[in-house]
């Protein structure tokens, strides 16, 4: 390799390295900034109500069992209101005690389970019904009502075994 060529190669490498670093920095910045701006803590209703001040005006995600009788559709305000009862976040414990369907049923029927009132502006989701699992993203407002910006529902099938 001639000297000139070597020099050219060195120069090129520098440009490549600087460019590479700039791109990597941009990518990492994009990743971190978008992660931080959309991260939400997943907590239980019990945790939320135990320390409401910690979570006020912060976006959190809570999961609870829907109390069937409490569902009210307010078409004037285009809102849905319902009460959700605390369920454990421990999947293993839920699986061992008979599955999600049983856990949801137990939570709704347990008078001691912590409950919150939920307000959601939007169309009533089809799966919002008694003993379904609601995964709510939003924040606790001043009246200790949880205002959900996003409402996801899951219905574990009750017919996992036909035996009972």
């Amino acid at each position: 390799m001639t000297e000139e060529n070597q020099e050219r190669k060195k120069k090129k490498n520098w440009k490549l390295i600087i460019g590479g670093f700039a791109i990597a920095a941009a990518v990492i910045y994009l990743l971190i900034s978008s992660t931080l701006s959309s991260v939400q803590y997943f907590i239980t209703i019990e945790e939320l109500l135990a320390n409401p001040e910690n979570y006020r005006d912060k976006t959190v995600r809570v999961s609870g069992a829907v109390v069937g009788k409490s569902i009210v559709v307010d078409t004037d305000r285009n809102a849905v209101e319902f009460t959700a009862a605390n369920i454990s976040a421990d999947h293993q414990a839920i699986a061992e005690s008979g599955g999600m369907a049983a856990a949801l049923k137990a939570a709704v029927n347990d008078p001691d389970a912590k409950r919150i009132d939920v307000l959601y502006y939007g169309v009533k989701p089809d799966l919002l019904k008694a003993e379904s699992q609601a995964i709510m993203t939003g924040s606790l407002t001043d009246g200790n009502i949880f205002q959900a910006d996003e409402l996801l529902l899951k219905c574990p099938t009750k017919y996992e075994t036909m035996g009972n």
């Binding site: 090129k12 994009l30 992660t35 991260v39 285009n78 169309v123 996003e150 035996g163």
Partner: protein, 682 residues
């Protein structure tokens, strides 16, 4: 009887697959072609065996044989035939059997085209494929068996679930089944899962070639021609599966719109992105001899991402609307995923020095080099990889956080939009510049002038478009400028290629025509992507949402239209009750037709579903959802949520263009393979 036969066929198939692996290994160790050929026979026999098994399950579904738990769970007495057939993949165990069946079909096609004595890649590839098939067989034979039946046992008559009765158990036959989950009772269930499965499974075959070539390092590259149809097939069906799922989600409320960034959707998007990158690496390799490292690594990563997608969907460890519920498979799938990652990592590490590329365009200096087509290909590939990584991060972060910090976190849709949005825009820009670049050479003065002119024209068009349509903000016009520029670049390239052809009538040119067709088709796919982007931009930036209350026969404005509720109808069917309303749509006094937003109630699941009424037009869709249906009386006031989704149909038109381009590419690759075979025979 039919149950026993279907079950037995699966077991025979599993042992045939194991036999095949053993036979090929013996054949390799003893250098005995008879053993190797026998291993190939095992590859061929799997398809008839699995067909028998799938046929049995299908017969049980069609005959409503409710003693079988799988049938009980997915079919009921009133289910139409198309939903009975799609019940085959409606739940975990059946869909696994269906997976094995498609896999065995591809294996059959692959093995029949292969000559085990002449093809040095055959043994390793066959072992790899048989091992993957044997794994899914284990799952649906021993862990989650679709042929399990109900038996009454003991004096109490307790129901038990097993394949064969113990002692004097009597069969327990329910009179009706539960039927498929109401949210799945849609035509989408017929075509979306199988399309995606075809793409997913074909990836294993692409990977089988690459892995075998990596291990055996064949002297010639002829195997690469054989991979190409598989790779294109994979790519098409990954695209088709995603698009059909997207359309289904758009047509049915409850799946969250055309794209919801659900973990399972994202897990299926990752292989598509990586496969796209892989295909571009292959094109780059054909043109320059470079890109070998990229194509090998990308192929292995695509394969890994498929296994990851299977894990996400089926293990139940990641929460999603698509996921099968928490399943006993999770341990097995975790092991499978770990084994796959280990295989990929060790292959890459062990062979890192052997798959280097012949460096191309090294004689150019840096500023000239970044103007070449290979640089833009590299940029596009890197962008696709980063997007894929961001998607993976979005799925993993919530789980990693729980693992390491004990805190459960979630990340919302904004994460994906913010992180991948700018990268997709850059990708569109690269797509626009690529047609006007050259392999191994920097841009010519003319190409630079054309690029500048096109950018200027696109800019003017974007400004005019913004003024005419009263579009808000600056971001949207900027994105539109990129889109206009990219589509203009493609049109210019097509135009100039046709013009050159028309001018140049020498016979020499006609010999290059397959290349010209491939070039045309390649940019056809790009054009499809750009049209799709247009539709996505419309719904993301310009969607209008309004709530309205309609009193019967009274007109009200919403989203630029006038809506009139003209009727409601309540009907009973075997499945449940349907409330259907009729809303007339007009604009500026002109009648545009009526839509029928509905709510259906499924009694057996105590489940309501909402079917939107959609009025489609190229300029945008008017999308009506019936929200309040509590009132029983038919002339009640009703509430609707009205969406106006501008340009959304370009998403579907672009999808069709993309699939058409993909299909042409696939048949081109098949034909080219055949031509080469003929040439070799001569």
């Amino acid at each position: 009887m039919i149950i026993t036969l279907g079950y037995a066929a699966m077991i025979f198939a599993f042992f045939a697959a194991v036999y095949g692996i053993v036979a090929i290994i013996i054949g390799q160790i003893t250098r005995s072609p008879i053993w190797t050929r026998s291993g190939r026979q095992a590859c061929l026999v799997l398809f008839p065996l699995f067909s028998f098994s799938v046929g049995s399950l299908l017969a049980l579904l069609i005959r409503n044989d409710y003693q079988v738990d799988y049938v009980f769970q997915t079919v009921n007495n009133f289910q139409p035939l198309y939903l009975k057939i799609s019940a085959l993949w409606g739940k975990q165990s059946g869909s696994l059997l269906f997976w094995s069946w498609i896999f065995s079909l591809f294996l059959f096609i692959w093995a029949i085209q292969t000559k085990p004595e002449k093809d040095p890649l055959f043994p390793t590839a066959a072992i790899f494929l048989l091992a993957n098939l044997a794994f899914t067989s284990i799952l649906h034979i021993w862990i989650d068996n679709p042929f399990d039946r109900y038996w009454q046992t003991g004096e109490m008559g307790t129901a038990v679930l097993s394949i064969f009765p113990a002692g004097n158990d009597l069969p327990l036959i329910p009179s009706d089944g539960l039927g498929m989950n109401p949210l799945l009772r849609h035509f989408g269930m017929v075509y979306h899962p199988p399309a995606l499965y075809l793409g997913f499974i074909a990836v294993f075959f692409t990977a089988a070639f690459e892995i075998s070539a990596l291990i055996h390092r064949p002297a010639d590259d002829s195997w690469m021609k054989k991979v190409r149809p598989w790779a294109i097939f994979t790519w098409i069906f990954l695209a088709v599966g995603l698009i059909l799922g997207s359309r289904w989600a758009y047509d049915v409320l409850g799946w969250g719109g055309y794209w919801g960034w659900d973990p399972v959707e994202v897990a299926a998007l990752i292989p598509f992105l990586l496969m796209t990158a892989y295909l571009h690496a292959v094109i780059g390799h054909t043109a320059t001899g470079g890109f070998r490292r990229w194509s090998t690594v990308l192929c292995l990563l695509t394969y890994g991402s498929i296994v990851f997608a299977v894990f996400v969907t089926r293990s139940g460890l990641i929460s999603s609307v698509h996921a099968f519920s928490v399943s006993p498979l999770s341990v097995f799938l975790s092991v499978y995923l770990a084994a796959t990652i280990l295989l990929i990592a060790s292959l890459i590490v062990a062979r890192r020095r052997t798959f280097g590329s012949a460096a191309s365009a090294d004689n150019l200096d840096f500023s000239a080099k970044i103007q070449t087509k290979e640089s833009l290909f590299t940029a596009g590939i890197i962008l696709l990889c980063i997007i894929a990584f961001f998607c993976l991060w979005g799925i993993l972060l919530p789980n990693l956080s729980e693992l390491f910090t004990g805190r459960q976190i979630a990340i919302g849709v904004e994460y994906y939009e913010k992180s991948t949005g700018p990268l997709f825009a850059l990708l569109l820009l690269v797509m626009g510049i690529v047609p006007l670049t050259n392999w191994k050479k920097p841009l010519t003065a003319k190409q630079r002038a054309v690029l500048g002119a096109l950018a200027l024209i696109a800019g003017i068009a974007a400004v005019i478009f913004r003024t005419i349509n009263h579009l808000p903000g600056l971001l949207l016009p900027l994105v539109l400028w990129v889109l206009f520029f990219s589509i203009l670049a493609i049109l210019y390239t097509w135009g100039s290629a046709l013009f050159m052809r028309a001018k140049n009538t020498q016979p020499k040119q006609s010999r290059r025509s397959p290349g010209l067709i491939r070039f045309f088709v390649g940019y056809l796919i790009h054009a499809g992507v750009i049209l799709m982007a247009f539709g996505i931009i419309g719904i993301e930036f310009l969607q209008i949402e309004e709530q309205i209350k309609l009193t019967p026969n009274e007109s009200k404005p919403a989203a630029g239209f006038e809506l009139t509720l003209t009727g409601a109808d309540r009907s009973q069917s075997d499945e449940g009750e349907t409330l259907s309303t009729t809303v007339e749509i007009s604009q500026n006094g002109r009648k545009l037709g009526a839509v029928h937003p509905q709510q259906k109630y499924y009694a057996s699941y105590n489940q309501q579903t909402t079917v939107p009424g959609i009025r489609s037009a190229l300029s945008g869709d008017l999308y009506l959802i019936l929200t309040g249906s509590e009132s029983a009386s038919l002339d009640a006031v009703r509430t609707y949520t009205v969406y106006y989704n501008p340009w959304i149909n370009w998403l579907w038109i672009g999808s069709i263009v993309l699939c058409l381009g993909g299909a042409l590419l696939f048949f081109g690759a098949l034909k080219k393979g055949a031509v080469r075979k003929d040439a070799a025979a001569d």
